[in-house]
C-alpha cells in the first residue's frame, strides 16, 4: 500500500498559503522534507528537486487528531478497517485517529492491542489504539489498564455504553490516576434508556418511539464529576449532547476539576426532528437533540467549555441500518465531513438541520462570510491570539478566531490530551510534518461515490458543504493530493 508514495527525501514546498501558528494565521511558505517541516518563511524559492503546491487562498493547519473513531477492526471488517477508515481520515484532513475498543473481540488485552498496533504500523495515518476500561466492555471488572498503558494505550473507554457501575468507575479512576492515561466516558445511564432509540421529547412523544432522555446523560455526567472530585483523576467526556450537560461541565471546570469535554459534528449541526423521516441514518447514541441543545453546544464550543471536536465516526453496513428504528445500529460516519460541518456550524452559523429536505438540496455554504474570513486571514494585520479560557463568543468574535477555535479543538487540544508530540503542533520549523491544507473558500458535496469508508451511513450526503481539505501530509508524505487519497 506504500508503493506509490514518494520517498521521504522528496521535498515539498507549499506556496502562498496562510499558516496556523501560535500567533495566529500568517502568510508563509512552508518547506517539508524528511518527515518534518524544514522551514516556514515569508518567501521560499523552489529548488529543482522540490515539488511545489500552489496553495494560495488556503490555510495550512496541523493535521487533525480524532479522539473518537470506530474502525471496526477486528471483527467487523465489512463495515470498516484500519485501512479504509484511514483513507476517510486522510480525506478529512486527519493525520491521527483513535480506534475505539468496541471491536469483536473487545480491545481489552495485550494480544489484541499488539496485533492492532502491528496492523496499524504500515498505514501512514497514525492510529492510536484505545482499549476498554472494563473487560469485554461488560462493566464488571477492570481491563489490565497498566499493562495496556505500558504498550502505549493512552485512552481507555467502553464507548458505545457508559460504565454503569459507579463504584467500578471510581476504582478505574483511582487505578488509572498515575498511569498517565485518560479515561473517556460515554455518558448515558442505561436505566433511563430502556429500548430507547431517539431523544426523549417532542419527537419521540409524537412518533411513539422510546426515548433516550438527555437526563440519562446528565445523571451519569454528574456522578462522574463527583467521582473526579473525589479521586482527583483526569477524565474526558465524550460526545456531550445536551444543554444541561454543558452547564454541569462548565461548573466542574470552574471548580478546577481536571476534566475535558467533547462534541461531535453531528450534535452541533443536526436535530432530533430528522428522525421523523424514519431514516435510521439519523439514529445515534447519544441521540440528536433539540435545536436549543445544538445552540448550547455551539456556544460552549466557542467559549472553550468544550475542548475537543471528535467525530464518533461509526460505520455500519446497510444491513444494520435498514432495520426498524429500535434495532438499527446507532452511529454515523464523520471523518470525511467533520471539518466542513464544524466550519458551517461554528464559523458560518448555519441553521441546525431540522428536517430532511427532500425537494431542494441543503446548502450550508455562505460565500460572503467565507470571503470575509479569507480577507481576515490573508490581511496584513496579525490576529490576536486567543488564549485558553478567553471567550470566542464575545460580541466581536472574529471569523478567524472562530476558525482558530475549530482547528485547536480538532488538532492541538486532542493531541495534548493523548500526549502526542508529532501531531497537533502549530506550524513551525522543526516539528513533524503532519498537516493539512484547507481551502476555506471552496465548497463540495459528499456523494456516495466519494465515501471512502466501507459503509455509507453519512447523514451529510445531500448537503452542499463549505471548506475543502485539499491536501493532507503525514510525516511530509502527501497522503491526500487535490482531494484524492494517495495510499
Amino acid at each position: 500500500m506504500l508503493s506509490n508514495m514518494q520517498t521521504i527525501e522528496h521535498k515539498i514546498l507549499l506556496k502562498g498559503g496562510s499558516v496556523f501558528t501560535e500567533t495566529g494565521f500568517l502568510k508563509r511558505d512552508v518547506l517539508l522534507s524528511e518527515g518534518k517541516i524544514q522551514a516556514v518563511e515569508k518567501q521560499i524559492e523552489a529548488d529543482l528537486d522540490c515539488e511545489v503546491f500552489d496553495i494560495s487562498g488556503c490555510v495550512v493547519s496541523p493535521g487533525f487528531v480524532d479522539l473518537h473513531t470506530h474502525l471496526r477492526q477486528p471483527g467487523d471488517e465489512i463495515s470498516e478497517t484500519l485501512y479504509s477508515g484511514s483513507q476517510a481520515a486522510a480525506f478529512g484532513g486527519y493525520t491521527s485517529v483513535t480506534a475505539m475498543a468496541n471491536t469483536d473481540p473487545v480491545t481489552d488485552d495485550p494480544a489484541t492491542v499488539l496485533q492492532l498496533q502491528a496492523m496499524a504500523a504500515p498505514i501512514p495515518i497514525k492510529i492510536n489504539i484505545a482499549a476498554s476500561i472494563t473487560k469485554g466492555r461488560k462493566g464488571e471488572t477492570l481491563s489490565p489498564l497498566a499493562e495496556l498503558a505500558a504498550l502505549g494505550v493512552k485512552l481507555f473507554s467502553d464507548d458505545g455504553i457508559g460504565v454503569q457501575d459507579g463504584q467500578l468507575m471510581r476504582q478505574a479512576l483511582l487505578y488509572a490516576r498515575n498511569l498517565n492515561v485518560i479515561l473517556a466516558q460515554h455518558s448515558e445511564d442505561e436505566l433511563y434508556c430502556e429500548q430507547g432509540c431517539v431523544n426523549e421529547g417532542e419527537v419521540s412523544a409524537r412518533l411513539g418511539l422510546k426515548g433516550r432522555p438527555a437526563m440519562a446523560e446528565e445523571i451519569m455526567l454528574q456522578r462522574d464529576l463527583t467521582l473526579v472530585r473525589e479521586t482527583s483523576s483526569r477524565m474526558h467526556f465524550m460526545h456531550l449532547s445536551s444543554a444541561n450537560s454543558i452547564s454541569l461541565l462548565k461548573a466542574a471546570k470552574a471548580a478546577g476539576l481536571p476534566v475535558t469535554g467533547e462534541v461531535t459534528p453531528h450534535h452541533i449541526s443536526l436535530t432530533e426532528s430528522l428522525i421523523e423521516s424514519f431514516d435510521t441514518v439519523y439514529k445515534v447514541h447519544p441521540p440528536l437533540r433539540t435545536a436549543q441543545d445544538v445552540y448550547a453546544l455551539r456556544e460552549a464550543f466557542c467559549d472553550d467549555v468544550i475542548d475537543v471536536l471528535a467525530t464518533d465516526h461509526a460505520p455500519h453496513g446497510e444491513e444494520r441500518k435498514e432495520q426498524p428504528m429500535d434495532i438499527a445500529s446507532p452511529g454515523m460516519l464523520g471523518l470525511q465531513t467533520a471539518f466542513s460541518v464544524a466550519y458551517a456550524s461554528i464559523c458560518l452559523a448555519t441553521e441546525p438541520l431540522r428536517s430532511k429536505d427532500s425537494v431542494g438540496k441543503v446548502d450550508w455554504t455562505n460565500q460572503s462570510l467565507q470571503k470575509s474570513l479569507l480577507r481576515e486571514i490573508s490581511g496584513s494585520k496579525e490576529q490576536k491570539k486567543i488564549g485558553p479560557g478567553e471567550s470566542l463568543q464575545s460580541a466581536k468574535a472574529s471569523l478567524s478566531s472562530l476558525l482558530t477555535g475549530i482547528i485547536n479543538k480538532m488538532s492541538v487540544v486532542p493531541a495534548k490530551i493523548l500526549g502526542l508530540s508529532d501531531h497537533g503542533q502549530y506550524i513551525k520549523a522543526g516539528v513533524a510534518a503532519n498537516l493539512c491544507v484547507i481551502d476555506l473558500g471552496g465548497n463540495w458535496e459528499l456523494t456516495k461515490e466519494k465515501i471512502l469508508s466501507n459503509s455509507s451511513n453519512s447523514p451529510f450526503t445531500n448537503i452542499k458543504l463549505p471548506g475543502v481539505i485539499r491536501h493532507t501530509f503525514a510525516y511530509a508524505i502527501p497522503v491526500l493530493v487535490d482531494t484524492e487519497v494517495r495510499f
Partner: protein, 316 residues
C-alpha cells in the same frame, strides 16, 4: 390519501374532507354487506398482501375480509418471531412480497416507522395497520365512521362532540391516531391519564382541541363518547401504575361510573377488552357499548381504504 403511491401511513396525511369521503364510501360498503351476495367484483385480479410482523388476529382478519369482499386475492405473511430474531431483514421481506405480485401491502410492526420505511423501498401503496406506539390510522377511521353513525351530525362535522379517551395514552397508537382524527373532524378530546401514562413532552396539549385530566368522574359527565384504551401490559413501562386494582379504581369504567354518563353517550374500545380492568364485565354488555359495531364497521372502512388505494380512477 391523495398520494396513491405511498398509501395510508399517518392520520396527519389525511384531511377532514378525505376522512368524510371515506366515511361516505364505508357506509356504501356497509350496504353491500347486507346484499344476498355481500361482495363486489371491483378488485378482481388485484393482490393484497398482509405483512404482520407483530401478532394480531382481528386487524389482520378485518383487512383480509375487506379485501376479499372487494374480490381481491389475499396473501398472508405472518411471523411469530420477534424483530430481534436474526434472519431476513424487513427490507428483503418487503421486496419479496412485492415480487410475489402484491399490489398493496398492509403492514403491522412493533416498531414505529416500519410501514414508512417499507413504503420507501417498494413501489406499491402501503397501509399502516399499526406501527409500535405510533399510528393505527384504519382504526381511527373506523372509529370516526362508528361515531358518525351514532350521532345526528351535518356532513359528518364533529363540532360540539366531546370525546373522552381513557388509559395508557403514551403507549397507544390508537390514541395518537384517534386524537388526530377526532379533532380534525371538529370534536373536542379530553385525555384521562396520569403523568406516567402520558408522553414526556406535552405534544397532545399543543392541540387546542385537546385537554388532559386525571379526574375520570368529572370527564364522564359531559362526554358524548367514552373511548377506553386497552391496558397493554406488554407495552407498558414498569411501574406505570402500581397494581391492576389501582388502575381499575382510578381509570376503569364500572356501573357507578357508567351511571355518571349522559343518556346519549356511548362507550367505545379498540379491542380486545380486558374485562374487569378498563371496563367492568357488566358494563361491557350494555346497549351503549359499540365494540361490536366497531368490528363490523372496520370491515366496511377497510374496504373503503383498500378500494381507494387500488382504483386510481376513483376521486375522493
Amino acid at each position: 390519501m391523495t398520494n396513491v403511491k405511498t398509501g395510508l401511513l399517518d392520520m396527519s396525511d389525511i384531511s377532514a374532507v378525505e376522512i368524510r369521503s371515506l366515511i361516505k364510501l364505508a357506509s356504501f360498503f356497509s350496504e353491500v354487506a347486507k346484499r344476498p351476495i355481500p361482495k363486489v367484483p371491483v378488485l378482481t385480479g388485484k393482490q393484497v398482501v398482509t405483512a404482520f410482523f407483530e401478532p394480531s388476529t382481528r386487524t389482520r382478519l378485518s383487512f383480509e375480509v375487506a379485501a376479499r369482499k372487494l374480490s381481491a386475492d389475499v396473501v398472508t405473511f405472518t411471523t411469530a418471531t420477534s424483530s430481534l430474531t436474526k434472519g431476513e431483514s424487513i427490507k428483503d421481506t418487503a421486496l419479496t412480497l412485492r415480487e410475489l405480485g402484491g399490489n398493496l401491502l398492509i403492514v403491522r410492526h412493533n416498531c414505529a416507522g416500519v410501514p414508512h420505511q417499507i413504503a420507501s423501498w417498494v413501489d406499491i401503496p402501503v397501509i399502516n395497520a399499526g406501527d409500535g406506539r405510533h399510528q393505527h390510522p384504519s382504526q381511527a377511521l373506523l372509529d370516526c365512521y362508528t361515531i358518525s353513525q351514532n350521532f345526528t351530525l351535518t356532513e359528518n362535522d364533529f363540532t360540539g362532540l366531546e370525546v373522552v379517551i381513557v388509559g395508557d395514552i403514551t403507549n397507544s397508537r390508537v390514541a395518537r391516531s384517534c386524537v388526530e382524527a377526532f379533532t380534525t373532524l371538529g370534536a373536542r378530546v379530553t385525555l384521562v391519564a396520569g403523568p406516567t401514562l402520558l408522553p414526556a413532552a406535552p405534544v397532545f396539549s399543543a392541540n387546542d382541541r385537546v385537554s388532559i385530566t386525571e379526574d375520570l368522574d368529572g370527564a364522564l359527565a359531559t362526554a358524548d363518547v367514552v373511548y377506553l384504551l386497552r391496558v397493554q401490559l406488554e407495552r407498558m413501562d414498569k411501574n406505570a401504575f402500581p397494581t391492576v386494582r389501582e388502575y381499575r379504581t382510578r381509570f376503569g369504567v364500572d356501573r357507578r361510573r357508567s351511571a355518571l354518563m349522559k343518556k346519549s353517550a356511548v362507550i367505545m374500545h379498540p379491542g380486545p377488552i380486558n374485562r374487569g380492568v378498563e371496563i367492568a364485565s357488566d358494563v361491557a354488555e350494555q346497549q351503549n357499548v359499540l365494540i361490536g359495531d366497531q368490528v363490523k364497521n372496520g370491515i366496511a372502512m377497510r374496504m373503503a381504504i383498500i378500494y381507494n388505494l387500488l382504483t386510481s380512477k376513483y376521486e375522493l
